[in-house]
């Protein structure tokens, strides 16, 4: 029993990261119908931004306590990562959109932007791994054979809170209505007096900001940073978003946790060598039964 509970906790933590990243994919797709393949790398940039903020604030010139650093680093990381996302939108995606380029070209541009971020990082910072400093004092709680760290709780809570927040924004606010409107008909929306560019920028702020948060939490949980850390997890989170039904906030959230549970579950039952083989076979089966994903609806307003 303890063994099962422990694995559920492991899956919840791992799924939280998939969910947080998948939310960013789904937001941008929901509004622009654009698969922002650079998202995993924005997550990586978020982790690096958090690293530099944390080391600066812990350093002698500021000398803040680790906890204060954490409190300040969360909003700052989110804000700075959001700037990176918005910059990408301004210099890469918007010019193409203005010229009426086909979505395919924008997706390829996104892929290239991701590679530029990865190799730019490699060129500037070198290939050496960075060690993320400890920001909150780790405490390990154990009940029976089940162990839990405070960091795990923070990660899981953060994923749930972000989901509830985004779901509220998209379904209950005016700006959320505008976002849904753009995905419905992006030619009619400007005629209604809605500033389409600002809404898109806002979408990127949300998506990239939470990628930054995910990067910070990830760096705290797995404190080794490298330029390619966002690649695999980004792809997997994208798959999670598709399985959940891309464009749907709930889909990204549940899809992320589903992937986390499947990956951990496969290792629990089968030899760990088969993890990805089994995990993705199960996901393939889900898409085979429901090609639009769990929450997706064919040809409807998405987001």
């Amino acid at each position: 029993m303890d063994f099962i509970i422990q694995n559920i906790l492991n899956a919840l933590q791992w799924g939280s990261f998939y969910a947080l990243i998948a939310l960013g994919y789904t937001l941008v797709y929901g509004v622009l119908r654009l698969i922002n393949f650079a998202h995993g790398d924005i997550f990586m940039v978020g982790a690096y931004i958090a690293f530099f903020l944390a080391t600066t604030m812990l350093g002698p010139s500021f000398g803040l306590s680790p906890f204060m650093t954490f409190v300040i680093a969360v909003p700052l990381t989110m804000a700075l990562t959001a700037c990176v996302g918005v910059t990408l939108e301004r210099i890469a995606y918007r010019p193409l959109r203005r010229k009426g380029a086909h979505r395919l070209y924008v997706v390829i541009t996104a892929l290239m932007c991701g590679l530029i971020l990865e190799y730019g990082n490699l060129a500037v910072l070198g290939a050496s791994r960075l060690k993320f400093p400890d920001l909150i004092e780790k405490s390990i709680w154990s009940v029976g054979d089940v162990t839990m760290t405070n960091l795990k709780v923070i990660v899981i809570v953060a994923a749930v809170v972000v989901f509830i927040f985004l779901n509220f924004i998209v379904t209950k606010t005016k700006i959320g209505m505008a976002m849904r409107g753009i995905s419905y008909d992006k030619f009619a929306i400007p005629l209604m007096g809605i500033p389409i560019d600002s809404i898109i920028v806002f979408t990127f702020i949300l998506g990239s900001g939470f990628a930054g948060l995910a990067g910070l939490l990830f760096a705290m949980s797995y404190p080794i940073l490298e330029p390619f850390m966002g690649m695999i997890i980004g792809w997997k989170a994208f798959i999670a978003a598709v399985v959940g039904g891309i464009g749907d906030i709930r889909g990204a959230f549940y899809g992320g946790f589903l992937l986390g549970f499947i990956e951990v579950g496969v290792v629990t039952v089968f030899p760990s060598t088969y993890r990805d083989l089994f995990a993705f076979s199960i996901l393939l089966l889900i898409l085979w039964i429901k090609p639009t994903g769990l929450f997706g609806m064919p040809q409807s307003t998405k987001i």
């Binding site: 780790k138 990830f218 797995y222 951990v264």
Partner: protein
């Protein structure tokens, strides 16, 4: 007209690009001995490439400051070409081909890790170019490959060393293993260890789990391992993964000791892993602390030049170059044709029966593999690698 300029521009661009291709073709006036290095300068283990390159630069400076390498009465300067294999198997074979066909090197040193050395060794053997891997311990690297040599001991030796040490030191009856399934080195060593542990008859390997190279979360595997309650956990992985595995295992309530292999031995291990790694043991090629003689001279010079203690791969690279130099001397003459020179070097390498390097003395068996001693090292409470014991075959 516009189309014409566009076409002319494209043509110009292509000409400029092809000029880069030709850039490597310039003829050297002085006859040099050109040696290629196939190193992981980026990717998963950049520290390893860096250390090897540093050691090579030091050796190169020594030789060339003395006017070159004395072969048969004439001095030939050495020329080293470093190329990055990104710690990837496919890039390592590309780099080997590039060094052979484009740079026309007479011998290749590297790749370091077996993950790259096994495939690159095949490429070098097929192209009849002598290759020395400094750090690769997997038997397949040199097996049935007359053109491939190495400076390190082999995993069939290292596996039992680890098993014997753990049985004695931890009084262990049961063992668990967590290895990287996509890494030839890690997988091979894990399997050899499993066989040698079970052969001892003390107890079973209670958990034998694996993960992928890019994985960051090992909680599922570790939960499984912790629930089987092993006496120690053997982690034959690269240092970057070790740092994550050790910390996550402790978070999941694992209290027992860890045992590592030679891939642990980098200064980055302690930097990334922190205090959690202190007090654990790993097998390796040499221990920097307490070294004597030529080894100490090398360590002191390296430390002065680069501000860090040389890790085992740096020392092994130094020895690999030493072996190569001896092989060139054995050849007795420098041919201007790289193909002839390669054959002469291979014969020269095969003629080396024993070699006294800074990582210890070694004898070579029929396969061209060195037979030499291994060292078990403890990570002390200040994060230093301290000599624990030496095991000789």
């Amino acid at each position: 007209m516009k189309a014409f300029f566009k076409g002319a521009g494209l043509l110009g661009l292509m000409l400029v690009c092809s000029a880069f291709l030709l850039a490597g073709c310039g003829e050297d006036k002085v006859q040099t001995i050109k040696i290629g290095f196939n190193l992981p300068l980026t990717g998963d283990i950049p520290e390893v490439g860096e250390g090897s390159k540093n050691a090579a630069e030091m050796y190169l400076k020594d030789i060339n400051d003395a006017g070159g390498l004395d072969v048969g009465g004439t001095k030939y300067p050495l020329e080293f070409v470093y190329m990055d294999n990104e710690s990837k198997a496919e890039s390592a074979t590309n780099v080997a081909l590039k060094l052979i066909d484009q740079e026309k090197v007479v011998a290749i040193i590297g790749p370091n890790s077996s993950k790259q050395a096994v495939p690159a060794g095949g490429t070098c053997n097929d192209n009849r170019v002598p290759m020395i891997s400094p750090w690769s311990t997997n038997p397949s690297t040199t097996l049935d490959r007359p053109w491939v040599f190495r400076a390190a001991f082999l995993d069939p030796f290292q596996g039992p060393v680890v098993a014997d040490f753990a049985a004695k030191k931890f009084n262990a009856k049961t063992a668990a293993v967590l290895f990287d399934v996509s890494n030839d080195y890690s997988k091979g060593l894990a399997e050899i260890f499993k066989t040698s542990w079970e052969a001892k008859g003390l107890g079973p390997v209670v958990a034998f789990e694996s993960h992928g190279t890019k994985d960051q979360d090992f909680s599922a595997q570790l939960t499984k391992i912790v629930s089987t309650n092993p006496d120690f956990l053997f982690v034959p992985n690269n240092y970057n993964q070790v740092a994550l595995i050790v910390n996550q295992a402790r978070d999941l309530g694992y209290k027992g000791p860890f045992m590592g292999s030679d891939a642990w031995g980098t200064p980055d291990l302690v930097k990334l892993c922190g205090e959690q790694c202190y007090g654990n043991y790993f097998s390796t090629h040499y221990a920097a602390a307490g070294a004597q003689g030529a080894t100490k001279v090398f360590i002191d010079r390296y430390t002065e030049l680069y501000g860090a203690t040389p890790a085992d791969y740096a020392a092994l690279t130094w020895d690999s170059i030493g072996m190569l130099v001896e092989a060139i001397k054995n050849a007795g003459q420098v041919y201007s044709d790289p193909v002839e020179m390669r054959t002469a070097i291979r014969d020269g390498l095969a003629a080396i029966k024993s070699f006294d390097g800074i990582t210890g003395a070694s004898k070579f068996d029929a396969q061209g593999d060195p037979i030499k001693c291994a060292v078990v090292v403890k990570i002390s409470d200040d994060g230093e690698f301290v000599f624990e014991e030496s095991v000789c075959p």
